[in-house]
């Protein structure tokens, strides 16, 4: 954001004549718009990518027709279709909550992109509590899901909403503990500081620096899979059991909001994992050859690919097994990792 401010005041002569508050406001809005656009573009591409990846893993082709080459315009066609659909609200549904739910889920997913450091100079808001803000804002999505489940007035949706609440709230704890193992070494919650602490080549990344953060990466990855409701933790939207879970009754653009928010969440946790464990925009070598944004995107997209790979390989866990895994497996491991990381940092 500061970079934009500097660029604007340097290059546009009339900029300095605007009132002070407006001079501060315009770079903020621009930075957020850039973040939002980038995230949305990625999300659209991710829907196409998921269908193609799923298809190739299943020995078939996926979208091939829309737009010519391998159906790249399929998400655009889907978007247009969803916009044109009739907006159905069930007769007995709670109308206000029904309308607010997709908004909350969408905001919870996209608002955290403001603290992701894409390059060394571009971060929409360099908060000194960056990672805490990201974790807190994603918790807003849970409220949206529960609202969706409750207000639909549908037993299946209610089941989905309840399961989602239990799952997401439980898995926040191991994920935050895994983040804590990294924060202990960095000493600051700011995202840029975390990336700056991993400069100097691939062996300085937190993934390889010590065995506790190595394991913490996997704990964080699994916990974040549960946060975004991806298989094997996709009980809230388990298609074969509950038809569609908490978004059963949604159609048209409201459903599109849930759908986009899911992919945005996937990208978000991949970006956070990249920043914390894989070095963010820093390179593989001590003097990076490629630009920072490119490296960051490669790493984040690889993690998104792994999430999709897991989805199309694994069955889903039952609700009690899922909670067992959180409270009896991931949580003790996460505690041990925090303690080990703390002891190492004392030296």
């Amino acid at each position: 954001m500061d970079a934009i401010f500097v660029w604007l005041s340097g290059n546009i002569a009339a900029y300095a004549r605007l009132p002070e508050s407006l001079q501060r406001l315009i770079p903020m809005v621009l930075a957020c718009l850039i973040c939002l656009t980038a995230a949305l573009l990625f999300v659209l591409m991710a829907t196409w990518g998921e269908r193609k990846i799923a298809a190739h893993m299943q020995d078939r082709l996926g979208p091939m027709r829309v737009g010519g080459w391998h159906g790249w315009a399929q998400p655009l066609a889907d978007g247009v279709k969803l916009l044109l659909k009739e907006d159905i609200i069930p007769a007995e549904a709670d109308r206000f909550l029904f309308r607010m739910a997709p908004v909350l889920v969408f905001v919870g997913g996209f608002a955290a992109f403001a603290v992701i450091p894409f390059t060394s100079s571009f971060i929409a808001a360099d908060l000194n509590i960056g990672i805490l803000y990201a974790v807190a804002i994603t918790a807003l999505g849970v409220v949206g899901i529960i609202m969706a489940g409750w207000s639909s007035n549908n037993k299946y949706a209610l089941y989905g909403g309840m399961r989602a609440a239990a799952q997401i709230v439980s898995y926040e704890i191991p994920s935050v503990l895994a983040i804590l193992t990294v924060i202990i070494h960095v000493g600051s919650l700011s995202m840029q500081e975390i990336v700056l602490a991993q400069q100097g080549g691939v062996w300085n990344w937190f993934l390889f620096r010590n065995p506790f953060t190595f394991l913490a990466f996997f704990v964080y990855f699994l916990a974040s899979l549960a946060e975004v409701n991806r298989t094997p933790f996709d009980i809230p939207e388990a298609e074969s059991e509950l038809v569609a879970g908490y978004h059963t009754e949604y159609s048209g653009m409201r459903f599109a909001f849930f759908y986009l928010a899911e992919y945005a969440n996937m990208l978000l946790v991949s970006c956070i994992a990249t920043t914390l464990f894989l070095g963010g925009w820093s390179g593989f070598l001590s003097q990076p050859l490629l630009p920072g944004a490119f490296l960051f995107l490669i790493k984040a997209m690889f993690l998104v690919f792994v999430q999709m790979w897991l989805r199309w390989t694994l069955p889903r866990l039952r609700v009690d097994q899922l909670l067992h895994m959180c409270w009896k497996v991931l949580l003790p491991i996460a505690f041990v990792l925090v303690m080990g990381s703390g002891i190492l940092a004392l030296k």
Binding site: R60, M64, T313, L314
Partner: protein
């Protein structure tokens, strides 16, 4: 306690095995045939659309009796003694004039039981499978070419009743 760690190890190991299988398929060849652009040729014994070469039909009615769902409707009348004798392509004399030979393809179950009893092998199942129609009446295939000389007698047996024209 050991069971706890063994479970974790088993989970991780089997997950990795499964991922290996999927990634192998990801890099492999796909097996999809992109339909309207590529079609495959059906074997010669395929049981698709029915076809009757009406010039060879001797009107014996074996196919009507063999059909388990009664989808063939046939009415015949005797050819007069003064008409020229006609023969099917394998030499069988045709004694009856077939004035109605309708097959209702929407009832047909594609079992092929009608083609076996046909003495002149004029009723066949072809390999054509793209014969969707826009209205159900178009599924009633009328093969007969001759018109009846005498007015049709009233038919009593309900299952062999001629459908409404």
């Amino acid at each position: 306690m050991g069971r706890y760690f063994k479970d974790i190890f088993d989970s991780v190991w089997t997950i990795l095995l499964g991922m290996k299988v999927t990634i192998k398929h990801f890099m492999g060849r796909n097996k999809t045939l992109q339909y309207p652009n590529e079609r495959w040729t059906l074997p010669e014994r395929s049981r698709m659309r029915l076809f009757n070469k009406i010039e060879d039909c001797i009107g014996c009615g074996q196919c009507v009796r063999a059909c388990p769902v009664d989808c063939i409707y046939m009415t015949t009348e005797k050819r007069g003694k003064d008409e020229l004798p006609i023969y099917a392509s394998d030499g069988t004399p045709i004694k009856l004039r077939v004035t109605q030979f309708d097959i209702d393809m929407s009832l047909c179950c594609y079992c092929n039981l009608c083609t076996y009893p046909c003495p002149t092998h004029c009723l066949l199942m072809t390999q054509e499978y793209e014969f969707a129609v826009y209205s159900k009446q178009e599924f009633l295939y009328r093969f007969a070419k001759d018109k009846p000389l005498a007015p049709p007698k009233p038919v009593h047996h309900a299952s062999h009743a001629a459908p409404v024209q």
